[in-house]
Amino acid sequence: MSATGGRLAGRTTVVTGAGQGVGEGIARRLAAEGANVVIAARRADTGEPVAEAIRSAGGSAICIETDVSSRASVQACVDQTVDRFGGLQIMVHNAFRGGIPHRLESADLDRHWKHMSRTGVWAVLFCGQAAWPHLRAAGAQGRFIILTSPSGVEGSANIPLYSPVKAAERAMAKSLAREWGPSGVTVNCIGPVAASPALVNAFDVNPALKDAIEARTPLGRVGDPEADIGSVALFLAGDDAAFVTGQTIICDGGSFLGL
């Protein structure tokens, strides 16, 4: 890993929810290509070890405690990032809270909805608005990458309110791709299925779930946060994807084919 070489050398990225799982995988992959990485984690006790691991491997990373459901917290994160590194070229919104199975007719949907709406859709607003002046300044290097889900396209039978939140993120990405395109900034989504801590825990509780997912996946396995999802994020973040915008890349081993 090198902070001075690589495809993203000299560029700075904020990755929300990078204290674990897919966010951590993306952060590690972008750092390995030379980006200055801000680990925007809700808790420093998860984010700081990731930043330290990147630094130990020769990369450039800091952790900033960030609550993506708070406009002020996101703005403070971006401000500190720009103060520390002199700019922000790549904003990655991955953090999300919620996703517990529920019935759409249940009377207590509020507790499911509020976390998902706030950390999903509202956070896209906060992250996009805070990052926009810096992405615009970055021009053709400006990137806004949003982690959505295959469920945002096909609709979930088990977590019905998760799907509209993830669908809304895709619609915002398409809209922003069109709105920000003249500045050269691209806006894209990734829909991953990867071995996040939550999914690994679910496998521990229900080993049959892992077998079921692998059986329905043409590539026969669950994605790796860094090698599989991080690599797609790297492509979107780099110069090779300068003409790709408004798109959703479903990265799930071929499980969902209906985009």
Partner: protein, 193 residues
Amino acid sequence: MGTGTGAGGGTIVIEGVGPLADVLRTADIAVGCPTTVVVADIVTAAMPFEQITDDEFDAAWEQPMQAAIAAFQRAHHAQHQRLIAIVPTIGMSGAPTLAHVAATAEAIRVMVKSAARQWGSDGMTVNCIALAPALFGIDTTAVGEVSLAPPALAGPGTVVGDVVPLIRMIAGADAHHLTGATLTADGGVWMTA
């Protein structure tokens, strides 16, 4: 609860606010089984993304979504056999300066799929009709061109002439196996489902 009854034998509830919902409430819609139509509460004001305030986003996203969720639940509690959501196509196409509106439209369209999956075993079908943004009062100059090809048909269509027949079809016995679908009726502008 089974699906399908005799033609013209069902009640219909129109949920939602705005001119489109008002026209539907006064239209003569004979449906085959108990039906709820949820017209998305769509904010029409376009504005640059960076200028959207929390209050404006609350009005464009949070409140319409909570209203739609509540309307879906009322339809289920009423044991209606058909639930039809009506949204503008901008959720699928995206629209500059309308990200806050596109979010709501697409969220409701995909919530239809989730509801269809959960409530199919309860005897309810759930479908979506996607219409030209103009029918919601959205400024079409803000939406811009969404296809390299010109519209296949002229005009955005009309509520009574074009939307009501679709509702009648989905709410009829012939559509008992149609669920989770989006019927795009915008005159052939947006052709990618």
